[in-house]
């Protein structure tokens, strides 16, 4: 990669398919194979993806660094850039910069129990963490994965997560607000209804990670606090407008911090302390 942090690196789309009606999975790889194998990152980090002539925006990484070579994104068609991204096919080239951001402190998670709470599109960054923990299973205590979507068709990576239910080294709980298929065999209700399944939690020894739509945080955090988990062990990853990824353009500023370099992962204590984060 060039030492100019603003120059995108050409990456090739190797695979893409629809996760839901408006969210598409993109698997990309640096054109240079050696570089592809060396590219390292942390779960929770993001990259700046661009199409020259259209623009650039931040996207959470959905793959895990424990499986090097390919970078995965789950991208919702929501604006000018993503509309153009959806028009691209396999083997077309996009520009990518990064990784950026602090990511999840996976070293601190070692030997701890992990609860991953996801709403909707929050599955994109937290899938990275989940896969990372499963790939390094011996380093962590119990792992709980709680994911809520509006309808079965809106659950990202639905098949992948349903398969995870077969494993005996993970508690995987899935829910939908409403089943419009009549074939949903998992829980029905908002994601907080899954919290009753969390019994015998050892709060001091547990980290919780949360990502979802803004409305979800308050209710989920109330439940986590009821479990007695310390505020600094509750982590969430946030969204902001970004144009640089390195604390210069100013768009992601919140008070004294830049989401792109001081975040996007923040603790619940940060939220109370710094205001306006969520």
């Amino acid at each position: 990669m060039s030492d100019n942090i603003y120059l995108p690196e050409p990456m090739r789309i190797v695979r893409r398919y629809d996760l839901t009606e408006d969210v598409r999975f993109f698997q990309v790889r640096p054109v240079d194979m050696e570089r592809a194998l060396k590219l390292s990152y942390l779960p929770g980090q993001f990259m700046m993806v661009s199409i020259a002539g259209v623009g650039e925006a931040p996207f959470s990484i959905s793959s895990t660094p424990s499986r090097p070579g390919l970078i995965e994104f789950g991208i919702r068609k929501v604006g000018v850039l993503t509309e153009q991204l959806f028009k691209l096919k396999e083997n077309e080239i996009i520009g990518v910069r990064g990784p950026f951001g602090n990511g999840f402190p996976v070293d601190k998670f070692k030997n701890k129990d992990i609860i991953i709470v996801v709403g909707g599109l929050g599955a994109v960054p937290l899938r990275s963490l989940l896969l990372y923990c499963l790939d390094n299973r011996d380093q962590f205590g119990k792992i709980y994965f709680l994911y809520g979507a509006r309808r079965p068709a809106e659950m990202l990576f639905r098949r992948e997560f349903l398969e995870l239910k077969q494993r005996d080294d993970l508690y995987c709980y899935l829910t939908v607000d409403k089943d419009d298929t009549g074939r949903w065999t998992e829980n029905i209700g908002v994601v907080t209804t899954l919290f009753k399944k969390l019994t015998n939690i050892d709060p001091e020894n547990t980290y919780v990670t949360v990502c979802g739509p803004p409305v979800m945080y308050k209710f989920v955090i109330d439940e986590i606090i009821k479990l007695g988990i310390p505020k600094h062990q509750i982590l969430m990853t946030l969204e902001r407008r970004m144009h640089c990824g390195v604390g210069k353009c100013g768009h992601c500023v919140i008070g004294s911090i830049y989401t792109c370099i001081d975040g996007p992962v923040f603790s619940y204590w940060d939220v109370i302390h710094m205001k306006d984060l969520i």
Binding site: G55, V80, R240, V253
Partner: protein, 338 residues
Amino acid sequence: MKVLKLKKHYLKDYLNVLRNWGEVYGPVKQEDKYIYGLLDDLDKLDTRMLRTILPAKKFLVPPRFSTFTFKDHSYEPELNNLPNRVVFGVHPCEIHGIVILDKFFLERFPDPYYGERRRRTAILGLSCVPDDKCFAKSTNTHFAEFGFDLAFNDLDDFYLVWVGSSLGDDLIRLKLELFDEEIKQSDLQKYMEWRAWRDTQYKLNLDLTAMPDIMELNYESPLWEKLGDKCLACGACSMVCPTCPCYNVQDQIRPNKTEGKRERLWDSCMYKQFALVAGGHNFREKRSQRVRLWYTHKLKAFITEFGKAACVGCGRCIDTCPVEINVKTVVSELKGGK
């Protein structure tokens, strides 16, 4: 630090010599205001200026510039062929502004575009006498000990010239014979008297002690709504502020659709779209939230980040804001005045 003397009537001769090194810019009158203009004709130079409309940041972070060109999938950074520039007439407060930009752009994740322009821009400071909008003494930015290449201190018939960098020394050597290297006791005396006199000339004094705490305690204050109602969200405060660094990014594409460039443009957190994300959520929809952010960032956040407020007391916001939202009025209201 090396200090020399330059007779005042040699100034234009000296600036003329500097053209051998690069383009020479300096204060030029434009209607009733001043700008940093290209001194293609040295008679345009007007050292009576107090503050230019735009600060010298425009040389280090131009209002609009290309970061790279692209063709198909290769990218070519636009860092070569930047001109050498001399900016004469930079006042101490503005030099402090540049020092703040240096920290911002060069410490964490160094920015090559800022770095290259900074390297190629010689900052030639000039002493000043404040008007009723200057409050650099309150921000402790009324003297600059570093951050310049040369600094000219006006002492009636001569300038005391402080050499602040290796480049500054090179620039002196371009025409050393114009300078007098002998500083007499009487010159020192004159300088001391001038300093003491200038200190007394600050008519606007703001007590900025404890501003971070005062900002924190005012976070939920109705004051922000009041200011938000008044603010026109024109962003002029950001454009004229020597320490506002925020920018937007835009791609420009040629009609062939495979070639173009990625540009950076000055942006302002006062603009409504500043924190708008795709999908339509705006993290700072209300003007009151945006005014609060601007002042939080200047008077509190920078202190957390760099140990120093990002206001240098230049008075440009006082001079510019059409509805009198500026550091003077906001600080006064934050402290319960008016």
